[in-house]
């Protein structure tokens, strides 16, 4: 049910925004700080792959991080 609410909330927000033709409220010239490397959600691709692999083979949870990698038979 929690998942249903999360997705339903996201859909509602997206539909409302789509119907309103909202203009960007942060102008392109105001986005300099957002482009700084310290604001990146993902760091370096190889390091991200390593961290993801470390946790994937030891924790049951996985997914939603955007990091792709090959599976393994690790114990």
């Amino acid at each position: 049910m929690n998942a249903c609410r999360i997705v339903a909330g996201g859909l509602t927000a997206a539909l409302v925004l789509a119907g309103c033709s909202i203009q960007p409220w942060v102008k392109p010239y105001e986005r300099e700080r957002l482009a700084d490397p310290i604001m990146k959600f993902s760091g370096e691709p190889l390091a991200d792959k390593h961290r993801e692999h470390v946790f994937d083979v030891r924790e049951a949870s996985h997914g939603a991080t955007g990091v792709q990698g090959g599976g393994c038979g690790c114990n």
Binding site: L11, A14, I38, R58, S61, A64, Q68
Partner: protein, 404 residues
């Protein structure tokens, strides 16, 4: 880099393009959300539907805003050491853009594993093996869309894994919002040492949906959802369960559906520094729920140094068919500690040094990262002592990047 203009720093007016783009993307959202909620049965012919969706996105895209990944070459040394397992090795990545619209990438990753984990030392003999993973990818910019195709091949002596993936990102709202959808199909083959005739397949289907939103001139957020369906031989041919203290073969279900939702927020807090907060909720049809929380702080020191500190916490509940020692014979029985109740947590640090331009072409950056982890199990014991199992681990990466 040639064509690419950052969606964060370049201006454009997307309003005329927004209508059709948004409708196509929203079709994708609705379809993918239905998949994530499990209301659409998993079928192997879903590729055709996804292709239709992606075609819609492509047809709707207009203004040129998304950016290709940066041209770069990375080489990394990585190490994991903990719980009797040491895994280390090199990795390389090369990425190069072509014709201002394509970016090709290739990577090679090696894991040299020395395994004397508690599972191994209590049921078998320590061993050494090497896993090699190769990946190829191509990214293509078409107006406001970034289309990425990727494939991986991973091989170790008793396990091989292949995967192919397609991801599409689309800017909307004048670059304020980026919507992405993705699909990956995986084919694994499970083998067994000493049994050359043993071969069992495991198949995977992954569906992704993500939204990144600029909140203010200082704050960003993203929400990513992923649904993963697994089918086939999902257990280990070596691991055993325990029934009244006696070892019996592990028996896991042959299907599993998992879902994960990840929320991330990043904010510039002044003084050339930023905070990162993220939380992931995971749940699956094996009865496992898990929470992952991470808090980070990153800061520039001068023009060349960037330092980051993080704290990560993870906890999960056990699978319905997990027990440290079964007291009755069940259809499914596992003593896989990855499916037990436990938590792990620890701090991490990372530092990068920009060494400047070399040979008038390469911007060199050197980075080192370290994380300490504590694993504490709640219902998995060391059968040698009878005590609840716990261990510490060290994770290290050292790499050099050259952007060109």
């Amino acid at each position: 880099m040639g064509v690419t203009r950052s969606r964060l720093t370049e201006g454009r007016n997307l309003a005329p393009a927004f209508g059709r783009s948004a409708r196509a993307v929203l079709r994708g959202i609705v379809w993918t959300a239905a998949r994530l909620l499990g209301r659409v049965r998993v079928q192997r012919a879903q590729g055709a539907r996804l292709a239709g969706l992606l075609g819609g996105v492509l047809a709707a895209a207009r203004a040129n805003g998304v950016e290709l990944p940066e041209d770069r070459a990375d080489t990394m040394f990585h190490l994991y050491d903990g719980g009797g397992v040491t895994a280390l090795g090199p990795a390389v990545l090369i990425r190069k853009s072509l014709l201002d619209r394509f970016s090709l990438s290739g990577s090679y990753y090696v894991d040299m594993v020395s395994n004397a984990s508690i599972d191994v030392v209590t049921t078998a003999s320590p061993y050494h093996e090497t896993r090699r993973e190769a990946a190829l990818g191509v990214d293509y910019v078409y107006h406001d869309s970034l289309i990425s195709l990727s494939g991986t091949h991973s091989k170790e002596p008793d396990y091989s894994a292949d995967s192919a993936g397609l991801d599409i990102s689309q800017d909307v709202f004048g670059g304020m919002t980026t919507v992405s959808v993705g699909y990956t199909r995986g084919w694994d083959t499970v083998g067994k040492h000493g049994s050359p005739s043993f071969s069992a397949p495991a198949n995977h289907w992954q569906y992704r949906l993500g939204v990144t939103q600029i909140l203010t001139s200082r704050w960003l957020m993203s929400l990513n959802l992923e649904s993963i369906s697994d089918d086939g031989y999902l257990q280990s041919p070596y691991r055993v369960a325990r029934l009244f203290g006696a070892a019996v073969p592990e028996r896991d279900p042959s299907t599993r559906t998992s879902r994960a939702a990840l929320l991330r927020v990043a904010g510039d807090v002044g003084s050339h520094s930023a905070v990162h907060v993220q939380y992931r909720y995971f749940w699956d049809t094996w009865g496992i729920t898990a929470h992952t929380a991470e808090l980070g702080y990153a800061r520039h020191f001068g023009d060349r140094w960037l330092a980051e500190g993080t704290v990560r916490y993870y906890r999960q509940s056990h699978a319905l068919f997990y027990s440290n020692d079964f007291t009755s014979d069940m259809t499914f029985m596992s003593r896989n500690r990855q499916l037990s109740t436990f938590w792990d947590a620890g701090p991490g640090v990372k530092a990068s040094y920009s060494a400047g331009r070399v040979a008038s072409r390469f911007d060199i950056k050197v980075t080192a990262g370290y994380q300490w982890l504590r694993f504490q199990y709640r219902d998995f014991t060391d059968i040698r002592t009878g005590q609840l199992y716990k261990f510490n681990a060290n994770v290290l990466e050292f790499f050099v990047s050259a952007a060109y």
